[in-house]
Subunit: 304 residues, 3 copies
């Protein structure tokens, strides 16, 4: 079924996902500019320059134009007490599609409920960031040639990490996947995700030993360690035990891939030439995949 | 006569106004991109995201490109002591048209005096915001089919409201208009506007009772209540007595229209479905009209 | 030899320089849009609105698109501890060319070392700003018809001024040039530049008396007085003794030209009509030249 907005990963079904992959592959090959005359708004209530630039680049590559604010919180209208819904109604008159980033969970849904144009959620608080999950999945598919019958290690802060949660929702739609959650006990994945996976018959296990998980995985999905969320001592421990270094990379299979939603900090610490030349290091290709899958999504939402 | 800049509402005569309406209607119908290769600068010395996005969208719809700053006050050059005139001279080398927003009255005129390209005033301090007045007038014309022989209630803070003042200048150019100024005595319209209307033979009266004015008006033009400008107690009083609610809307004629320059706060408080479906609620159409009339103005100023 | 990036003025040789001048002249004459579908990123770690708008305008004039941040220091990724190199790798996936401005010397080089697309240095700390030097040189060439056999007075704060230093590097590549460094002794040009000029057989002298230098010069290159860098009393002295006024302008030859990288403050203080009509005043033409030479450079770097 054709999507009218993309607010959360659960909206995507297997057909949508493969349709978008096909579209992304097509856009990668040919330079077309089908959206000439169309306008995308990046309506950002908090800065996320990387995500904003990715969406804006996607729209420009498609031939469209962009209007933008990264400062919508200071939106004169927001200060003057206008509701988010009214702002959305107004902005939707100025453009053909809205990409919203907000600090409050549920905001993207509120915007979509009143907007006269399609809306894409580019992250709303502790909520979702569905295009990140989509580009992660697209990268897996491109890198290992399938999105079923593989083992994925999800590593790091699984308790608070938004991307891991959204990715699990998508993984639940495919067959023969085994997840290894790798984290210290204090940052383990929450019960709701485990319940979801059980309901969808996705096998998973929890593992605190990074080195035991590494050789089993086709995909090692690293996440950023957020120092500020951790107890004293916890940060050093995570950084030392759960990071990709020249040493731990030796435990990664030659046909496996290391992904990361980026930016990364000390949880990945590799020499420059390894990062640039080792085929297992896939996260910069992941960035590029993000561009194409967002192009595909925008084009899909704006097609008649 | 062809305009070279738009700095204040008084510059517009009846011919200009109808010419711009005609152009806006034309642009609404067909997707042309006559300004390919042209560049508009939004040079904003204070943020006004809504206004900025509206102008930028207008330029992109016309096929042109946009360069932009909402932070011109922190303009490195401003900090370094460059005059506004020199900034204008420099910026005018980079583009084909400048839209300026400034916190000081008279700034737009100063910019226009040295710019080598057309300049549009998008609000300068307590001064003018002529495209707002123009889009209000265009909305009246579209909604009731004429801009003469009608009654308009101007409601709210008439003392400080910039939009009401600019709109009065335009209304003075047409025949058979009756204005009802509706406000508490402490926020009444100033004498200079009353003098202007008298000189231009526009009938007006002042009314403190909102409910008496409502049934007489073809157009109810609401304005935002700015709490911070009011005495203690005044705010509550205005909010309760001068607001459009389900109750007061019952006093509005079925062929009348409610306008508002937006953003609105508590001076309009209607259920969502009324706001979206009642044909009398015209302020979201007004937003869209703003886009088309700004397209018309930009196209007009850039035509040879 | 074709450039792949422009990081410092020393990279430019005489052939490059004239090639870019020829390209700029060509672009000035015809409205072509050869870069349709290409994207430029302005990645600014500190605001420099004028420089940013100039590059963005150049890209739009060439038919390309722009994505932009003037706030890269607050780049969510920068805050999260990502390296500049990783940011560059990511951003280079989103675009075809990067223009970087950074507060730290050497940053542009670091970005260029990992970027998969061409990089232009738009100023890095106390380092270089090579397109400024290039546009200065282009202006000299356009204004007096040659870049050899002329006398140039470089005036003001020669100790800290980045533009004077970069310009000297370029002047060293041409013949028959005589430089007069005009400044108070406390703000004299540094030894490294004098050494460079000696090695390249460029004649120079130092002069503290502005009025003695003026009649000798074909080009008077003024620079901004930065009050905050000066000793008490020094500012007033410089302002009074080293400024272009109606009085000092009388000492400038009729075929000479006054340049300034802008913004200027009190070191130039002329009546409006003189600034606008006296043919010797060349700094607003210099701004326009900056646009064309940047167009030429961008087009050159993106050509196959």
């Amino acid at each position: 079924m054709k999507l009218s907005c993309l607010i959360e990963a659960q909206q995507l079904d297997v057909a949508n996902i493969f349709f978008l992959f096909a579209k992304a592959e097509e856009l990668r090959k040919k330079q077309e500019r089908p959206l000439q005359g169309k306008i995308l708004t990046t309506l950002f209530y908090e800065p996320s320059t990387r995500t904003r630039l990715s969406f804006e680049s996607a729209m420009l590559r498609l031939g469209g134009g962009v209007i933008s604010t990264e400062n919508a919180k200071e939106f004169s209208s927001a200060i003057k007490g206008e509701s988010l819904e009214d702002t959305a109604r107004v902005v939707s008159k100025y453009c053909d599609i809205i990409v919203i980033r907000h600090y409050e969970e549920g905001s993207a849904k509120r915007v979509a409920s009143v907007s006269s144009v399609p809306v894409i959620n580019a992250g709303d608080g502790a909520g979702q960031h569905p295009t990140q999950a989509l580009l992660d999945l697209y990268t897996i598919w491109r890198e290992i040639g399938r999105i079923e019958h593989f083992t994925i290690a999800l590593v790091g802060d699984l308790k608070y990490g938004r991307t891991v949660r959204s990715l699990c929702y998508l993984l639940g739609k495919f067959h023969g996947i085994k997840i290894i959650f790798v984290s210290p006990a204090s940052l383990a994945i929450k019960e709701d995700i485990k319940d979801y996976l059980q309901r969808h018959s996705v096998g998973f296990e929890e593992e605190t030993n990074f080195y035991k998980a590494l050789p089993q995985a086709d995909i090692i999905y690293m996440t950023r360690i957020q120092k500020e969320r951790m107890q004293e001592g916890e940060y050093e421990m995570v950084k030392n035990r759960y990071s990709i270094t020249s040493e731990s990379l030796a435990f990664v299979r030659t046909d496996a891939r290391v992904l990361h939603p980026l930016p990364h900090t000390e949880e990945i610490s590799l020499p420059l030439d390894v990062e640039e030349k080792d085929p297992r290091i896939a996260y910069f290709r992941e960035v590029e995949n993000g561009l194409y899958i967002r192009m595909a999504l925008i084009a899909h939402l704006l097609e008649k």
